[in-house]
């Protein structure tokens, strides 16, 4: 190999974005192996990877992930449906706005996680308070964004539809809701990240299954490798949720100029 090609490769390596994370990983591995980073502080990346594989193979990770996933889906399902329903009523009618908007705005100021003691008193320590916390936390981002979206729909388009004799229901489904869809999707994206955040804390409530249960157990046995595996899974969960909304957006908002290839 000539000297110039070697410097070329070096220059490429320096400017590549994946090099520094890889170096950090190698440093972490070296630190763990040499004993600079003790096992009970942070397990080596190789150990984490091995644990990940064995947890998948034993079915421990998939089964617990499924439990956590179920909580998020159920909580989100309730929260998003409630948020959409409330926003529709408040956004589409003046009496609805008068009746709903102020109470929702008041409840919105409560930090969701601060409600967990109350929810435990009400719902015990089973699945219900976990799902209820996620549901409560995800109502507001959906409500606020959709309500705003509905109110922000171009009045001129509504006038147009009325001039062509469309019924109120036709206008809602052809003009107002499609017009508010971009806002709803923004709300949905917020709701997804809120749901994962609440899941992490809610699962610390005396869980007997789920990612939080795995982390709690691992803490008791100082298994930092398992803790790191669960953290990675949480991160992947968040990324996957964001990806999902992006896919939905690309399909549902294909008409937007930024996504249109005219």
């Amino acid at each position: 190999m000539s000297v110039t090609s070697r410097t070329d490769i070096l220059r490429k390596l320096i400017s590549a974005r994946w090099v520094s994370p890889l170096l950090l990983l190698l440093l972490w591995e070296a630190g763990a192996r040499s004993g600079v980073i003790p096992q009970h502080t942070l397990a080596a990346p190789s150990a984490v990877f091995a644990t990940l594989l064995s947890m998948i193979a034993s079915g421990e990770l998939p089964s617990n992930l499924l439990v956590s996933f179920g909580r998020v889906v159920l909580g989100l399902g309730i929260g998003v449906s409630l948020g959409v329903a409330l926003a529709r009523v408040a956004g589409l009618s003046r009496p609805g706005e008068a009746a709903l908007d102020s109470p929702v705005q008041v409840l919105r100021t409560l930090p969701t996680l601060a409600l967990s003691p109350l929810f435990i008193v009400w719902f015990g320590i089973g699945e219900t308070p976990k799902v209820a916390l996620i549901a409560f936390g995800t109502v507001f981002p959906v409500y606020l964004n959709l309500y705003n979206g509905i109110r922000g729909v171009d009045v001129r388009l509504v006038d147009m539809a009325r001039s062509f004799g469309l019924s109120r229901l036709d206008i809602i489904f052809n003009v107002i809701l499609p017009g508010a869809l971009p806002s709803l999707l923004v709300g949905l994206r917020y709701a997804l990240s809120v749901a994962v955040l609440i899941l992490v804390v809610a699962e610390q409530i005396n869980a007997t299954a789920g990612l939080g249960f795995l982390i709690n157990n691992a803490r008791d046995f100082m298994r930092t490798d398992i803790i790191v595996v669960c953290l990675i899974v949480y991160a992947v969960l968040g990324l996957a949720a964001d990806f999902l909304v992006r896919v939905v957006e690309a399909r549902a908002l294909a008409w937007r100029p930024s996504l249109v290839e005219a």
Partner: protein, 266 residues
């Protein structure tokens, strides 16, 4: 849907068919301000009326009334059930493809085929599946025209539909509107503040000022009309609108009722 016979000609109006629009002593107030006061208006089937007026003259209010957008209960207002509006901005739903926009709320059999036929008529059959935000200004306005025409309106309201277009596109749109009007014979009310546009297109020009009809001119000349033909009329109309360079020295000339009904050759 009721249609005028093709033999019907606007120039030979005297036999007076039942008007499609009829307003008597129409008054519209916002607070204490009367935007429109004691306005009488008849539009015959298939008639092309241009409504001129400065901003704040009540044009928009009158148009909203004729479009059925404002509640005018307890007033003597007759408007046909089949009406359609082309607004100054195209007002297409950006989330529906062009042909779906034309089909919006369309009743009756085969709405898709009718929408496509209407788009072919305005020369947009190659843009059927386009998203509205990718259309040019002229294309968007032609889509709006197709959306109005596909409803086979007895009354077509045009609210300064060419104001935002460039001069060349505007001329082409004038030709298109005239062709469509000849083919379908709706009554048209064109709201504009362009005197030349009114002269080029209309059978009758109304000048609205402070909520009253300040002047009315009939035009019987054949289309296409040459701009030079209408010089005198142009000057008079500008005069009613209070533009100084007009032939008439007084800014607003009061018009006697007998004078108003008089057809004027250009």
């Amino acid at each position: 849907m009721e249609r005028n016979s093709p033999a019907f000609s606007v120039a030979t109006l005297p036999q007076k068919p039942e008007p499609v629009v009829r307003l008597r002593y129409f008054t519209r107030r916002f607070g204490v301000n009367a935007v429109i006061e004691d306005l009488d208006l008849d539009i015959a089937p298939g008639e092309f009326v241009a409504l001129l007026g400065r901003s704040g003259s009540g044009k928009t209010t009158l148009l909203r009334t004729l479009a059925g957008l404002d509640d005018v209960a307890s007033q003597a207002v007759t408007i046909p059930p089949a009406r359609a509006v082309v607004f100054q901005d195209p007002r297409l739903l950006p989330w529906k493809r062009v042909w779906r926009n034309v089909m919006l709320g369309l009743k009756g059999p085969q709405p898709r085929e009718r929408a496509i036929a209407a788009l072919r008529e305005v020369g947009l059959d190659h843009r059927l599946d386009a998203w509205p935000l990718t259309l040019s200004g002229g294309e968007a306005q032609r889509t709006a025209l197709a959306r109005a025409l596909v409803r086979e309106p007895q009354l077509l309201l045009l609210d300064e539909p060419f104001a935002a277009l460039d001069a060349l596109t505007r001329i082409r749109m004038h030709g298109l509107v005239l062709a469509l009007w000849r083919a379908h014979r709706p009554a048209i009310m064109l709201v504009t503040h362009d005197v030349d546009e009114a002269i080029a297109l209309a059978d009758r020009v109304l000048v609205l000022d402070r909520g009253r009809i300040a002047a009315e001119e009939r035009i019987v000349a054949e289309r296409p009309r040459h701009p030079a033909d209408g010089e005198k009329l142009r000057g008079r109309l500008l005069g009613y609108l209070g533009v100084d360079e007009a032939a008439e020295p007084s800014p607003v000339r009061p018009i006697a009722l007998a004078d108003r009904r008089h057809p004027s050759a250009l």
